[in-house]
């Protein structure tokens, strides 16, 4: 066995402290030094299914001081964390941001008689409805940011929400 300069226990404790310190600093940036509230929320699609989302809300966004909101969505293989940097920068500048997952979670076994098939566009509709229900969101100023490497297979018959600002990020040619 070779000579050890620093005991393994010390290295382990130092590494653990570094992890906590670095993650705290990262969290401090994410929360803008405590000026942002971050909630992990379930976006209800129907009575059986939901999608996960993360809501970034600046503290100054109140019912008497409503703020414009932006929905951020990335298609697979990316999840709600892919656009987190954009959401963090948006919320630092006073916007409300909601990043949503494509993955649809099931609460219970759906009843085939009553349930409708949930897809990305129903997630978008539900996320938009959820934002519009928040008292601190200015309903007339909603934005949408999408990040995808695939083509968007839109179904025209779907009842989609309208947005004042739409940004599509795609490496597609």
């Amino acid at each position: 066995m070779r000579r050890r300069l620093v005991p393994s226990t010390v290295v382990f404790l130092l590494a653990l402290s570094a992890i906590f310190l670095l993650l705290s600093a990262a969290k401090w940036i994410e929360m803008d030094g405590g000026k942002t509230l971050i909630h992990i929320i379930d976006i209800e699609l129907d009575e059986f299914t939901y999608a996960q989302g993360r809501l970034y809300r600046p503290l100054e966004a109140q019912s008497l001081n409503q703020r414009p909101a932006v929905i951020l969505m990335a298609t697979p293989p990316y999840d709600k964390d892919a656009l987190a940097p954009v959401a963090i920068e948006l919320v630092r500048r006073g916007f409300v941001a909601l990043t949503v997952d494509h993955k649809i979670e099931e609460i219970a076994q759906p009843d085939p008689q009553t349930t409708t098939e949930a897809n990305a566009w129903s997630v978008l509709s539900s996320a938009s409805a959820l934002l519009k229900n928040q008292t601190f969101v200015d309903k007339s100023r909603l934005g949408f940011i999408a990040y995808t490497i695939d083509d968007a297979n839109i179904q025209p018959d779907k009842d989609l929400p309208f947005f004042k600002s739409i940004a599509i990020i795609t490496p597609q040619d």
Binding site: A15, I29, F162, T170, P171
Partner: protein, 302 residues
């Protein structure tokens, strides 16, 4: 396709603004011909892979300016609306260092467990005791990641996918992958087991970690000082001055991002392997530990 989506989402009563950040010029021509969109602000090449962020800072900057122009946050907000002043890159850097610290914590724990379960006196070269320390360290890493994800609610870009549950149908493929990964790390362990001087060993340790990262950072950032643009932008302007691509740009971007992530993963695991071998002199332990981590990383991205 994108034309359909933006049309469907645009408000027919009020004027919606549309921004498409795409790599090619296809959208520009098709949109100009159709002329069915209210407004197209810009189509730029801001999808270049950034080594710490999934989106290039200039892309974030464009989106921030676009959102501010169209959604107009109230006047009581700070007047310093500067889209270029971004902190997310520092955050990504912190998360990257945290990833290395996490690997180091796992390797230290593996070392502690290895000392707890020493080899029998009769057979010093028996490697059958390797499983327990490695399994203990991996289990601890998983619990630590789970706890951190709950405490900090953070996505750790390089290791976050580790927390995704593994499906039962993936198991046979994973066992095969584990065997291959352990074999590869077992082979590479010969490099570190050579009898060299202390100076050579330390130099080796530093170079293994720094060279893969440095090479990427030099390629991306050194051209700033020479040509006032990043390596990616310089590459595009030299190879494709007229936007005529010899290779699909999206494929090139995905390839470069994967190459960077892969180099970082392998480089960091080799560094940890070298650390374990230097401290415990157990080649199989180190190969098993690094092979399991690599399998975990790949499996979570399948």
């Amino acid at each position: 396709m994108w034309e359909d989506l933006t049309t469907a989402l645009s408000d027919p009563k009020s004027e919606s603004k549309v921004l498409i950040l795409a790599s090619g010029q296809h959208h520009k021509t098709s949109i100009a011909e159709n002329n069915q969109f209210p407004t197209i602000l810009s189509i730029r090449n801001f999808l270049a892979p950034h080594f710490l962020l999934p989106l290039h800072p200039k892309g974030i900057e464009t989106i921030l300016t676009f959102s501010q122009d169209n959604l107009q946050i109230p006047n009581d907000l700070p007047l310093w609306f500067n889209p270029a002043a971004q902190l997310v890159q520092i955050r990504a850097f912190f998360l990257l260092i945290a990833y290395f610290a996490l690997l180091l914590a796992g390797a230290s724990l593996c070392e502690i467990f290895t000392r707890r379960f020493p080899d029998s006196e009769t057979n010093k070269n028996d490697e059958s005791h390797a499983f327990m320390p490695v399994a203990g360290a991996i289990l601890f890493l998983y619990l630590l990641l789970w706890t951190l994800s709950r405490v900090f609610m953070l996505e750790i870009r390089f290791i976050g996918p580790l927390l995704r549950p593994i499906q039962p149908q993936q198991l046979p493929a994973l066992i095969g992958l584990l065997l291959i990964a352990v074999f590869l790390f077992w082979n590479s362990s010969r490099i570190f087991n050579s009898h060299r001087s202390a100076f050579h060993r330390r130099l080796q340790s530093i170079l293994i970690l720094l060279l893969p990262m440095l090479s990427f950072f030099v390629i991306e950032y050194l051209p700033y000082f020479v040509a006032h643009r990043s390596g990616w932008e310089l590459f595009l302007s030299i190879v494709h001055p007229g936007q005529k691509m010899i290779m699909h740009e999206s494929r090139l971007q995905i390839m470069l991002s994967t190459a960077f992530s892969g180099t970082l993963f392998i480089g960091s695991l080799l560094w940890i392997q070298r650390y374990l071998i230097f401290r415990t002199n157990k080649r199989f332990n180190s190969a098993l530990f690094c092979g399991t981590i690599l399998t975990w990383l790949i499996a979570s991205r399948i």
